[in-house]
Symmetry: C2
Subunit: 417 residues, 2 copies
């Protein structure tokens, strides 16, 4: 079946999803969770085939870990579906209401976007997570995962389809693309009369490929080059906690820190302490001359290092002469994801927030809170660094759009009687 | 100067706009209005040159009228700038605030998008209107108008630049592109690391060209094929008023009606009356067999007619057997712009609103209210038929994005003490 035909079927099926009541959608999502638990053996068998093929291809351990499912992970996916079922339904939400002087009532009401294409790599859990969020927001979803996970993704979708059909929703509302050629992905990304939004999730290469080939709207999440700036007037213990949590607690996450900027006034007291703590945690450090002069065991950083998302126990250091210098550094090297200031000075905090246009700017809190769940959105479908539609962690609302519903009693604009 | 250099200068200048207080922006907009009034002679002289060149090229009267400026129209543009100055500032608006269980405060705050490219055709008033809205929302704006209006646009921009500079904003924040080759437009539309949004305004050809060549996000306004459906249970006088206002009051507007759908139960009484009224107003009619059997002077409509935005005193008719048939017709032929139901039956109204996913759906009100001013947004920069970011009339808020500002007292996610 052609990609276009698949997409058109998804669009038709999406109408059935859009027409479901909240209760019906939530029951469907819980039935999807039940189905995954019931079909766990088939899913694990498919995943074992994927793992064997990937191992044979010599895929690295990090990717194998992302690909791997076990009974616990499948139970985790099912639990995540039940959590989505429990979230408030954004569809039909009245966001504004206004009665105009002529008596017409103008309402803004959330509706589904339509058809969402998810483009992702090895993690099979995305198949269920993204499907759940898209369906809860009343959309159809087209899932184009990586070739390494195709058997797992197909098995998960097959399991979920039963629950869709039981709810009266054609299974095309959740479509897994089995044609994994690049040309097929390009075709999908050009269907701007059918697909309303593409969300790429994965490495920078994948996201650039999607951005370059798409004619459908794309919300990108490039990379998280997140900064912690330690201001001159600071509680050093607080700054150290933010630093360790931001770098060490999960270095592979996009909301982890990549660069520490320290005001020169506190560098001599804070930096040696910070470096000692980071070394004890196994963090490799690179820095500018000023930081290397203050600390042992810090390699020389090149300008490129400051643009790098390490996704690892590695951190860049730089001593800055002022808040403005810190802001200039972040403007130059940042990725619009998440930046943190540690300060006791409300003026410095205000200037930091106002001067930066990253999606999430924090004062005295860990960058690791830059996450849909932590910020109160419920589950997230990604973190947008595109400054349009949604910026930062994207929850269910980001999968809807506000439209206008107008009610009158025969009012006209220019011609009367 | 290259397009890329122009755009980068606009981006740098946009920071100065983003940093202005509301009062400073409003004063700048009022100074822009004053400047236009002061420079009216120079603007009219430039416009006279554009008009002479267009006349020599044999441009049609409709386009000449869009191009033409006179003292009254310049005064109207200045008045529009003062209206934008009086609108509430969306930048800095707090849209949501939440304290999480761990004590961090999560705020959603509106910020400017950054750099907006307006791509438009002959109307020189767009140069000032779009600039005012983009600047008020804290953005830089790149204006790429039609070649017919280049002298007028350049004169308007020159007049406005003085007011920007007086406010400390580099004039690059309002950049008129003078290189009007198509290649230069394509280059602008591909600058996805500099331009945050492109808004095309004009004919379908221009909008398709922009959509096909853009790598920057685009919010399109294709066309308005707007429908009025007259239900079985209806106040026929009310329906007739909506019909006449929707078709006759300004046929060149995108929110004018193109097709009238009438339920078979009221066709015999309503249609002949409607046709008589429309004929008296000079409206040319095409219809299906059922409507032609009921009325004199209705030409035969082909399926293509129902896809046409006439922008003229022309209307398509069709008799439908049910509400569902009306919905199916609109789904097939509509452009997601604006649809109206005339009915006394709340169930029918509810089904019509729920089944259609157009940007604006109205019950017993004229399609001509589908306009930013009429719906309470203040001035509008366009009407989006793209179901992303903004859908329907776009006001100042649509030129901003919500981001996250988080404040804590040292909270961490995983690592404590």
């Amino acid at each position: 079946m052609s990609i276009r035909t698949l997409a058109l079927q998804c669009r038709d099926a999406a109408r059935a999803v859009a027409a479901l009541s909240t209760d019906a959608k939530d029951a469907m999502l819980r039935a999807m969770a039940d189905a995954l638990e019931r079909d766990v053996d088939a899913i694990l068998a498919a995943n074992a085939s994927d793992m064997a093929a990937a191992t044979e291809k010599g895929v690295g351990e990090a990717m194998l870990d992302r690909l791997r499912l076990d009974a616990g992970r499948v139970a985790g996916i099912a639990a995540a579906l039940r959590e989505v079922a429990a979230l408030p339904d954004p569809v039909g939400q009245l966001t504004r209401r206004d009665v105009r002087p002529n008596g017409i009532t103008v309402e803004r009401v959330r509706m589904p976007l339509g058809v969402i294409a998810m483009i992702y790599e090895a993690r099979p859990n995305v198949t269920a997570d993204a499907a759940a969020l898209c369906l809860k927001a009343g959309n159809g979803v087209i899932l184009r995962g990586g070739s390494e996970a195709i058997r797992s993704n197909t098995a998960i979708a097959a399991s979920l389809h039963g629950a869709l059909e039981a709810a009266g929703v054609p299974s095309a509302a959740l479509t897994v693309v089995s044609d994994l050629r690049r040309e097929a992905m390009v075709e999908l990304l050009q269907l701007n009369d059918v697909v309303d939004l593409a969300i790429p999730r994965g490495g920078e290469g994948l996201i650039r490929f999607v951005a370059e080939h798409a004619r459908v709207p794309v919300i990108k999440h490039y990379k998280g080059v997140c900064h912690l700036y330690v201001d001159a007037d600071v509680d050093e213990g607080l700054a150290l906690r933010l630093l360790v949590d931001g770098k060490v607690s999960r270095p592979s996450a996009c909301n982890s820190l990549e660069t520490l900027l320290v005001h020169a006034a506190v560098a001599a007291s804070f930096l040696p302490r910070a470096v000692e703590t980071l070394h004890a945690r196994g963090v490799a450090l690179r820095g500018d001359e000023a930081s290397r002069a203050l600390c042992e065991g810090v390699a020389a950083a090149g300008e490129d290092d400051y643009d790098t998302e390490h996704l690892d126990l590695a951190l860049n250091l730089r001593v800055v002469g002022s808040l403005d210098e810190a802001i200039a550094h972040i403007r130059r090297h940042g990725s619009d994801h998440t930046e943190v200031i540690a300060t006791r000075d409300p003026d410095a905090a205000g200037r930091f927030v106002a001067a930066l246009r990253s999606a999430v700017v924090m004062v005295n809190a860990s960058s690791r809170f830059s996450d849909g769940g932590e910020l109160g959105l419920g589950a997230e479908i990604g973190i947008s660094t595109t400054r349009l539609h949604a910026y930062g962690p994207m929850g269910l609302e980001a999968l809807t759009i506000e439209r206008f519903v107008v009610r009158g009693e025969g009012q006209t604009r220019n011609i009367h009687g």
